[in-house]
């Protein structure tokens, strides 16, 4: 199986979907000739032409709106937000239109759009290029939010997102783009949206997380293993709606749960995970559910020391895991 990077998995999934289905097309800022600022759509313009790889104006509301309209008309658009931070002008389109059209029209209409956006910090990107925005959308029934951690998951889930009959937000961690590599089958496969995945089996503590933090947790787990601490790691993969069964199972397995997210702590995805656990797992819990997340300040800072303070990293995760194991 070839080893490819996280971003190559994105490109591969898009190419295969565009080859498979003529209704699939890509639109966004600089996605065409340039191949995207991160090169996620590299080569697609040459292969599929300007009609299926659209360079748009700098107007996220229009990118989402055009995509939503096309999707409602039967197309399968994949819209790219250049940075997740820029999605804010499109929020009204996404929440008020895409998320609600199936319900509002009593199933007459649907909106099978995929909106991709690179999110996350640790790249010295400062305020407008580092944010995690998933929590903004994670209370909107009608939306699905996918945040994969590995190239294998990226390809399988992005293909599933494109084929999904409803809108899917697909957030890719920009630091993972070239940092994370892994084996990805060349053939066609999809992974189920809405299903979490056990990334490491263990019996002492449970870490539930998503995105780049999965790798931090895996690294920390290897260190802890040297001291005989055996961590169980669940990758949410889809952060909305949550895979409650998998969360309950993972939390009950060890009774000691650490939730990790690089988003601000209060009101984030992991807060909801914590609620699921407390509703269902009281008699299996052996320690208070712990959260490790970014501080509740408005944005990722630019200064390297402050960015480091804000951003979670393997050391912080290891420390939190160790404390929980010792409890």
């Amino acid at each position: 199986m070839p080893v490819i990077s996280y971003i190559q998995a994105v490109t591969q999934a898009l190419r295969e979907e565009m080859q498979r289905d003529e209704k699939v097309f890509v639109l966004g800022e600089d996605v065409g000739k340039r191949g995207g600022v991160f090169r996620a759509t590299d080569g697609l313009y040459d292969e599929f032409g300007g009609d299926r790889v659209l360079d748009t104006p700098l107007a996220e509301s229009a990118i989402a709106g055009v995509g939503i309209g096309a999707a409602m008309y039967g197309m399968r658009p994949v819209a790219e937000m250049q940075f997740a931070d820029f999605i804010m002008p499109a929020v009204n389109q996404i929440i008020s239109e895409a998320a609600k059209i199936r319900y509002r029209s009593n199933n007459d209409w649907s909106c099978p759009i995929t909106i991709r956006a690179p999110y996350g910090g640790g790249v010295h990107g400062a305020l407008y290029h580092s944010q995690s925005v998933e929590a903004v959308f994670a209370s909107q029934p009608g939306l699905k939010i996918v945040m994969p951690s590995t190239p294998y998951d990226v390809k399988g889930l992005l293909k599933a997102a494109v084929r999904d009959p409803d809108p899917v937000l697909f957030f890719e961690h920009k630091r993972a783009y070239r940092l994370i590599k892994g084996e990805v089958p060349e053939d066609d496969y999809t992974l189920p949206i809405g299903k979490a995945d056990v990334k490491r089996d263990g019996s002492d503590i449970t870490v539930i997380t998503y995105g780049l933090a999965v790798h931090f947790a895996l690294q920390a787990a290897e260190k802890l293993a040297e001291d005989g601490i055996d961590a169980h790691i669940l990758d949410l993969r889809t952060v909305y709606p949550l895979d409650k069964d998998a969360i309950i199972e993972a939390a009950s397995k060890t009774g000691k749960v650490l939730l990790v997210s690089e988003d601000n702590k209060e009101g984030g995805i992991i807060s909801e995970v914590s609620a699921v656990i407390s509703e269902n797992c009281l008699f299996d819990l052996d320690a208070p559910v712990q959260r490790l997340a970014g501080p509740d300040v408005p944005a990722m800072p630019y200064s390297p020391t402050m960015e480091k303070y804000f951003m979670i990293n393997p050391d912080k995760v290891e420390k939190a895991m160790r404390e929980l194991a010792e409890f």
């Binding site: 009281l282 008699f283 299996d284 819990l285 409890f327």
Partner: protein
């Protein structure tokens, strides 16, 4: 007309419970909305609980001395319609006579016994804290948790510990070994003398003034009773020649004040000497804990600061780490805070021994009451110029008495005597050369 509940209000952000020190009303009393109905003491503030309704007190659920959580029931009131305000007006006039609302004390009560006794059990504080998982497994498998060895933090029994016992088939064959420690006096259960001070029937004459015992005064009273009834006090005094110290300090004091902005007091020298001697005699830096004596590593010295009718004992933390200047600074800060009502609970916590500057009131001899649950208290009396025999001749020397009260359960005369002798030795040999201020 309906019955309403009055609940313990939230008295400050971090406060979770309060102790009812005094009910200001009785069953049957008519009360206006916002009238104080009870005085409540928390570890942060003493405050009055106002009535949430106008009505008649129906039942006092909580008793004086009870500690109840925020949001828990205090009493029931029968609430009237809004039309009845007129006849309650008459009632209100009597109210102040019954219980003069005492000004709110924002500062912490006298001592932090509760906190100290908690740390006294720090050895295995989590041994009996069971998580839901542990409780469930123990019940389902009929396991006696007393017999399970805890490997978690603070001796906590983890889910894995119980699972291992289940897998192993039996609990460890250990005789019950610890249950006795429960009996230590450190339990927060108030002793009878503490909970409800019975009103003593004293005849009053015309012109006598009645001062209700509330708030800080009440806490002082309770602590003193607790200390004197629980601790067998013994007493000892030495006379110390501090002529050298007085000379040294007097040569330094003006310059010190000019440079540092606060006074270089004699007391700082005494505190420093006590900290030094405690390091050598840790027996005095300890606490009686029923079946054991706990010797404290930290030397945190309470100093007594009086303010009108109140007495505070804030703490100089890690006094053994500090220079005389550092101690003088702490004393100044703490005294200032006490006088301005700015002491925080952090300032009051963690004391391991008390040094009391009774000399500041002109006292030359006193028998201190030990600051429960410490093992001893040292009173530093007035420095007095006296004729003493030195080298076979009369000499005018600066003399001071140091009075030590000790918990005779913890300490005997020998060690206390050695300790005092050491303090005396340090103080008598203070000179510019061997005792730097900085």
């Amino acid at each position: 007309m309906g019955v309403e509940k009055i609940k313990m209000p939230q008295l400050g952000e971090s406060v979770t419970e309060g102790t009812i020190s005094t009910w200001l009303v009785q069953v049957g009393d008519k009360v206006n909305k916002y009238d104080p109905i009870a005085e409540v003491m928390t570890d942060k503030v003493n405050a009055e609980v106002p009535s949430s309704y106008t009505g008649v007190i129906k039942e006092l659920v909580a008793q004086e001395g009870d500690t109840i959580a925020v949001g828990e029931l205090m009493c029931y009131m029968e609430v009237e319609g809004s039309g009845s305000t007129e006849d309650t007006a008459e009632q209100v006039k009597e109210e102040p006579a019954k219980a003069d609302p005492v000004a709110e004390e924002k500062s912490a009560p006298v001592t932090k016994n509760e906190k100290q006794s908690e740390s006294a059990e720090n050895d295995k504080p989590m041994k009996k804290r069971f998580s839901p998982a542990v409780m469930r497994l123990a019940q389902e498998n009929d396991i006696d948790l007393e017999q399970v060895e805890g490997t978690g933090k603070g001796g906590r029994i983890t889910r894995k510990d119980v699972e291992q016992v289940i897998a192993g088939g039996s609990t460890k064959d250990k005789q019950p070994q610890e249950p006795a420690q429960e009996a230590a006096p450190q339990t927060s259960q108030p002793s009878p003398s503490q909970s409800a001070p019975a009103p003593v029937n004293v005849k009053t004459e015309v012109g006598d003034k009645e001062i209700p015992v509330t708030g800080v005064r009440k806490a002082i009273a309770q602590n003193m009773v607790k200390s004197k009834t629980e601790i067998p006090h013994a007493w000892m005094m030495v006379e110390v020649d501090v002529t050298g110290l007085v000379e040294y300090r007097n040569t330094m004091k003006d310059k010190f004040k000019a440079e540092e902005g606060y006074s270089l007091t004699f007391f700082a020298f005494f505190v420093k000497a006590v900290a030094q001697a405690l390091k050598e005699y840790p027996q005095l830096n300890s606490t009686w804990a029923g079946d054991k004596i706990i010797q404290r590593k930290a030397i945190n010295l309470n100093i007594a600061v009086a303010k009108e009718d109140q007495l505070f004992v804030p703490v100089i933390k890690d006094a053994d780490d500090k220079s005389i200047k550092g101690i003088a600074k702490d004393i100044t800060d703490l005294a200032m805070k006490a006088r301005n009502g700015k002491l925080t609970s952090a300032d009051m916590e963690g004391g391991t021994f008390t040094v009391n500057n009774t000399g500041s009131f002109g006292s030359v001899q006193s028998m201190g009451v030990i600051n429960h649950p410490q093992a001893a208290i040292l009173q530093v009396e007035s420095i007095v110029k006296k004729p003493v025999i030195k080298d076979g001749m009369f000499a005018a020397r600066d003399m001071v008495n140091l009075c030590l009260s000790l918990d005779h359960r913890v300490l005997d005369g020998l060690v206390a005597g050695n300790f005092l002798a050491r303090v005396k030795e340090i103080l008598e040999n203070v000179t510019k050369d061997n005792t730097p201020i900085y």
